[in-house]
């Protein structure tokens, strides 16, 4: 009984510890490297997520809200460790322009980053999702929102 209990405790520890690390968000160094890809753009915030490989659920990504200010040019950068065939995209949208319509911009088509010239201050959404539910894999992904400057 004693041995059995010890085995159960150890197995649980290893299983849960592995699950924790396997589903972890991207590390700070990776976020920093991603932010540096924006060149002179100033890092404002990041959207860091862990994506699962569960093809049975409809959960295919993560969504965040972010406030953007009119007259500012923002840069959005997507970074994924071991990127595969553009299977993950980042999209910027708002309540007037739903995500599915690919309103303004996304990293679709292999783009690593895009700039957005904001013309209306308010709440926007950022999503990071798989493009194809059948190709889900376990990975982390990070999106960066950076400040380029006022629009010329």
């Amino acid at each position: 009984m004693k041995k059995l209990a010890i085995i159960i405790v150890l197995t649980s520890l290893f299983t849960l510890a592995f699950e924790y690390s396997a589903q972890a968000q991207c590390k700070q160094q990776f976020v920093y490297t991603c932010a540096r890809k924006g060149g002179n753009a100033i890092y404002l915030k990041d959207f860091n997520t862990k994506l699962k490989n569960d093809t049975k659920t409809a959960d295919n990504g993560t969504r965040w809200t972010t406030v953007l200010n009119e007259g500012i040019r923002y840069r959005f950068i997507l970074c994924i460790p071991e990127a595969e065939d553009n299977d993950i995209i980042m999209t910027l949208y708002d309540s007037q322009h739903p995500e599915k319509t690919k309103p303004w911009n996304s990293t679709e088509g292999g783009k690593e980053m895009f700039d957005f010239i904001c013309r209306r201050s308010g709440m926007y959404y950022i999503s990071i999702r798989y493009t194809d539910d059948s190709k889900k894999r376990k990975t982390c992904a990070v999106g960066i929102q950076a400040f380029v400057g006022k629009n010329q």
């Binding site: 209990a5 405790v9 649980s12 406030v67 980053m113 700039d115 010239i117 209306r120 201050s121 006022k150």
Partner: protein, 298 residues
């Protein structure tokens, strides 16, 4: 003996489960002394809090307008001794983080160390110092050789502290941090606009009307606390001054193109028209300055 082992097993599993991250999905109520209103979901409140601007954004905009650097507009680092409750410390942490953002964009490394020290003190008191790598930040500022890293780590630390508060059911503290950032950013904009008025800053201040509504919504979630109630009163007066400001958005066609560096750019195509009179701007500025100065002199 067997019973003891079973207890150990249950305890170990409980510890492991409690240490798992909750993936940002917080469904239960906050368990701090501040009791939230029952009819609003804390998840929705956390969504609004996370959306607020970075502590460096207003400073970056101000620098981009070629406004000269001025330390006298920042919170005096000695004021930190006035922040004698968690309520004031969280607000102060937000305000000082916005000031740190300002110092970062102007590359004022000597002052940065001073502000890092007081931020470290507040983060210790709020028990979020594990997300503020003071030693690395201080080394980067002192060496003055990697300002990009310093700026990144400063902003990233702020977001990690803020996120940790929300994930550990201290959304009230997180709400105060973003309030401090917003207030200090707007205070700086008002001060600079008073010295060198510009249409750009005037519009920027006017457009905060919508953000203010969201902020008041968040603060009202915690209004059972007397401290929050008092702060909400001050912000409601500010809202009254904003009532006359009108913002019109004309719908337009968005367009995309590549710039000279082959970066894909999308111009949203809309046009925002802000109607704010000089008198309204003065009233708004005065109220912002009043709220901010009252908070740091408590």
């Amino acid at each position: 003996m067997n019973l003891r082992l079973i207890y150990i097993l249950i305890l170990a599993l409980a510890i492991i489960t409690s240490c798992k991250p909750d993936e940002g999905k917080i469904d239960g109520p906050d368990t701090t002394t501040t009791q939230p209103k029952d009819n609003i979901d804390v998840t929705a409140i956390n969504r609004i809090i996370e959306s607020f601007s970075s502590p460096i954004e207003m400073a970056a905009s101000i620098k981009d307008m070629n406004a000269p650097y001025s330390k006298k507009n920042l919170v005096n680092s000695d004021s930190v001794s006035n922040f004698d409750s968690n309520f004031k410390k969280a607000l102060g942490l937000g305000m000082l983080s916005a000031d740190l953002g300002y110092l970062n964009v102007y590359n004022r490394t000597n002052e940065i160390v001073e502000y890092l020290t007081v931020i470290k003190r507040l983060s210790d008191d709020l028990d979020i110092d594990q997300y503020f790598d003071f030693q690395t930040l201080k080394r980067l500022a002192t060496n003055n050789d990697n300002l990009d890293s310093l700026m990144f780590l400063s902003v990233n630390s702020y977001h990690n502290m803020d996120k940790h508060l929300r994930e550990t059911r201290r959304s009230d503290m997180s709400a105060l941090m973003v309030t401090g950032v917003w207030l200090e950013g707007l205070y700086l904009a008002c001060k600079i606009n008073a010295l060198a008025p510009s249409e750009e800053l005037k519009n920027r201040i006017g457009q905060q009307r919508a953000i203010l509504s969201d902020l008041v919504l968040v603060l009202k979630f915690f209004e059972k606390s007397p401290h929050f109630k008092q702060l909400i009163k001050e912000f409601e007066i500010l809202q009254e001054y904003y009532e006359g400001v009108t913002i019109t958005v004309e719908i337009g066609e968005s367009k995309g193109y590549y710039d000279e560096d082959s970066v894909w750019i999308v111009d949203a195509g809309e046009k925002t028209i802000v109607n704010i009179t000089d008198e309204q701007l003065q009233d708004i500025s005065n109220q912002i300055i009043k709220i901010r100065n009252k908070l740091i002199s408590l």
